[in-house]
Symmetry: C2
Subunit: 193 residues, 2 copies
Amino acid sequence: MAIDRKEQIYSTARTMFSERGYPATTVRDIARELNMQAGSLYAHIGSKEDVLWEIVERAALQFIGVVAPIASSQTPPADKLRAMVRAHVLVVADNLDDATIFLHEWKFLGEERRAWVNERRNLYEGFYRRVIDEGIDSGDFAAHTDAKMAALLVLSSMNWLPQWYNPAGPLSPEEIADSFTQTILKGIQAPQY
Amino acid sequence: MAIDRKEQIYSTARTMFSERGYPATTVRDIARELNMQAGSLYAHIGSKEDVLWEIVERAALQFIGVVAPIASSQTPPADKLRAMVRAHVLVVADNLDDATIFLHEWKFLGEERRAWVNERRNLYEGFYRRVIDEGIDSGDFAAHTDAKMAALLVLSSMNWLPQWYNPAGPLSPEEIADSFTQTILKGIQAPQY
DNA sequence: CCTACCGATCGGTAGG
DNA sequence: CCTACCGATCGGTAGG
């Protein structure tokens, strides 16, 4: 059984960055949890920021990797949006700490890395904006729908999820996703004749 | 013109706590901005945490103070919810830094103060849960509405607002509030006969 | 992975 | 409000 020290360091960092935040977590906190000396960490990591970066980058690519194929598929807009939100919520539920760090700790990265994150965020948000535009064009969603605001409503509910979601709670990720999308879809759907 | 040093310190702290976060802001950062020595701050403040506390407490009381009267008024549920969200968004728009700090930096307070914040949060969220319950009872909202999830949708959109709202942007606070509540209200309204 | 340590910086205080 | 300073701690490195 290969005990991968590097994985342990990242796992501990994930928990601590998520709970206390990046600046309030010290390399000594991480080392202590693993019964190591602070300096010994640097046999496995480049810097504290490198650890944050790897977590953030991984999370960004995971969200995009899961949602992009759905966004570019040929599916009716309402079904597509439902599938995207569901995929997103499942990733969050399985990677709560990564999602929290991705949403709140990326600002402590250096300038270049921060710029990279911003690009991916815009890309990701575009997926949602576009499905809603598709729905307006196809007549599935009401013509007066403000695509930007509707996308923001979807993204807000997903981004706030890590703050309250409890894996031990009564609601499954699927139920949460369905509840949100059901209300929002009904809220933006075109009048039925 | 009385230059209130204490107010200047709090004003600077508000900006910095909001932008960099509490742990990443040092008392020397605040002092430097005001052309003071770090030690001189302590003629006006008790501790760094006291400054955070005063900001968080003030924000909490402001949100509750503005929304509670509406929540307890005799108004049709849909109108009431609209008015509550509008009041909330106006407070956020006028106090962006306080809202950000209230939402994200309160966890760096000591245990007692953190508990106080948690109580007010629950109280505040209850206002929204209850209006939605009222609407379900009165038949204004669909009987199958999940009040908890609907309230969460409202609160999520409001809580994410400080992350993207731009006072120089094209949307007024009223327009933002109306857009969100319009979609959500339509999403949870009872079928019309 | 440890010992030992670096320069820098932290929140805060004493004494004017 | 400044000077001068406190003990503690920070991220990180050298040299084994």
